[in-house]
Amino acid sequence: MADLTKEEFWRWREYHRVMPKKWSKADIITAGVDVGSVGSKAAIMVNGEAYAWGITRTGSNSPESAKKALDYALQDTGLTVGDLKYIVGTGYGRVNVPMANKAITEIACHAKGANYIWGPRVRTVLDVGGQDIKAIKIDETGRVVSFLMNDKCAAGTGRGMEVFADLLQIPIEDIGDISLKVEKEPDPVSCTCVAFAKTEAMGLLRKGWSKEKVLAAYTRAMAVRMANLINRVGYEPELVVTGGQSKNIGIVSRIEVILGVKTLPMPRWREDGLDPMVAGALGAALLGKALYEKAQKA
C-alpha cells in the first residue's frame, strides 16, 4: 500500500512551454517575471505575442525564484537573458527581481494580461493567487479602472487550497472536480478560516459527510467571498478569472452560479496554449514592450 503520509497532495505541477514560432535578433523580445507568494511565473514575448513561459514554485528566496522561473521560460528557446530587450518584474516579490528593468504592480499586469488573452471585451478580472484575491475593473485597452483586494485571509486562495488538499488527502489538481461530485450542493460552511478547517472538516467527516460534500461546502463558501468582492468592485461584463485558482473548476463554476453570469472561455485559437496562471507575467512582458518602445523613441 502506498504510504499516504509521505504523499504531498498540495504539490502542483511545474512546467514550461515554447510555442512553435520563430524569432530573430531584430524582434522586440521582452519578458515578464511574476514572483507570486506561491508560484513564480515568467513569460517571454516576441513583438508582443506570447512565445514561451515557465511556472515554478516560489522558494524562500525571491531573487532565486525569479531567476529560476525566467531560466525555465528560456529553456529550449535558444534565447538567453542577454537577448531580452526589456524585463518587467511583478507580483508579491516584484521588488526582488534582480534582472528586471522595472517593477510594476501585479494588478496592472493581470489587467493587461487578461486583455491580451481574452481581448477587449473583458471588463472584470478576478485574480485568485496564492495569497490574495483581487477583483479588478478594466477598460477596453486593459488599463485598470479600479480594484478591490483581500490579502488578509487565506480562505479561497491557492495557499488555503494547498492546506485543504493535504487535509483531505486529495491531489490539488483534482480538488475542483471532486468538489462538484455532489448530488445536491450543501450549504456553505459558516467559518472559512483555514486554520480552523482541520477541526471543522474532521467534525463534518465524523458526522458522516463525504470528502466531496465537505469540499463542496468549503468551495461554496469561498466562491461566495469572491463573488462578494466582485459585486463590491461593481461587476461589469465580461468576467474572466486569472491566477492559479482559475484552474479550480469548483470555484469558477460556483462563482458563475452565484453571480448568474458566464466567465469568458479561453479563445479557441489560444485554448491549447495560454495558461491564465501566467496572465500577470504576460501582462508584464507586454508593458515591458511598450516601455522599451517609448525609450527607443525618446
Binding site: 507568494s37 524562500s60 528566496n61 495569497q131 490579502d151 488578509k152 485571509c153 487565506a154 495557499r159 488555503g160 492546506v163 459558516s190 467559518c191 472559512t192 478560516c193 483555514v194 486554520a195 480552523f196 477541526t199
Partner: protein, 260 residues
Amino acid sequence: MITVGMDLGTQRVKAVVLKDGQVVGRSQAFAGFDPTKATEQAVAEALTQANLKLSDVQHFAATGSAMDMAPYEHSTVSMMSADAKAGVSLIPTARTIIDVGAEEARAVRCDERGVMADFVVNERCAAGAGAFIEAMARALEVKLEDMGPLSLKAERASPINASCVIFGESDVVSLIHRQESKPEICRAVFDAMADRVSSMIHRLGVNPDVVLVGGVAKDVGFVASLNRKLGLTVKIPEYPDYVGALGAALIAAGRVKGGA
C-alpha cells in the same frame, strides 16, 4: 449555597465550585473528543478539592462554545455575561473585559453590577486568538510557553503577514531561512494579535479599567504587546482562565436565590 460553573472551551474545559460566594474548588481538563466526559472529570476534581459531593450542588450552569455538550442538569449562561459577571466580581473597577481563548476572542463592556452592555466577538478567524500563537510556535519550533519570555528580549518586531495564520506560517518559515532572530519573530506574533484585539476594544470604546481574561492572559508576551498597543496597563485576575466558569457559577447562585 453551592453552585458549579462549567466553561466548555474549544481546547480546555474548566469547572469552578462556589460556596456562599467563595471559590472552594477549581479544575480543568483537555476537551479532547469528548468534552462531556472531560467536564465530568473537571467537576469531580473541583468537588473533591472542596470536600463536596455532586448531590451537594444546588445548581449547575454551563458556558463556553461547547456548552450544549455540558453534563448534568444545568442552565446556560452566555460567554459574554459570564465574563462580565466574573470580571467585575474579581476587579470591581472593571468596565471592559477582554477574553482571549484558544479559538475565540471577545471584548465585553459592562456596568458596575457586572451586567453586559455591549460586546464584540471574533470567532471566525484564528489570527486573533490563541491558535495563532500555537501555530507560530510550531513554525518557529519554540515551546508555546517560551514564546512570551522570548518576545520580551526583542527591541523590534520582524515584518510578518499577521492577518492570517496560514500566511503567517509561510512568512515565519521564510524568516527562519533568512536567519532572522526568533525573539523578533515572537514579538511580531504578539504585536499582531494585540493589534487585532485592540481594534475590537476600540470598536466598543476604551473604558477603563480594562481587564484581560482567558487562557492567553497568562502569556507575558501578549500582555506586553497589548499594553503597548492600548497605552495602558490591563489588569489580570489571579486565575484568568477560570473567569468564564466563575461567571457561570456566580450567575447560577443568582438563579438559586431568585428561585429560577
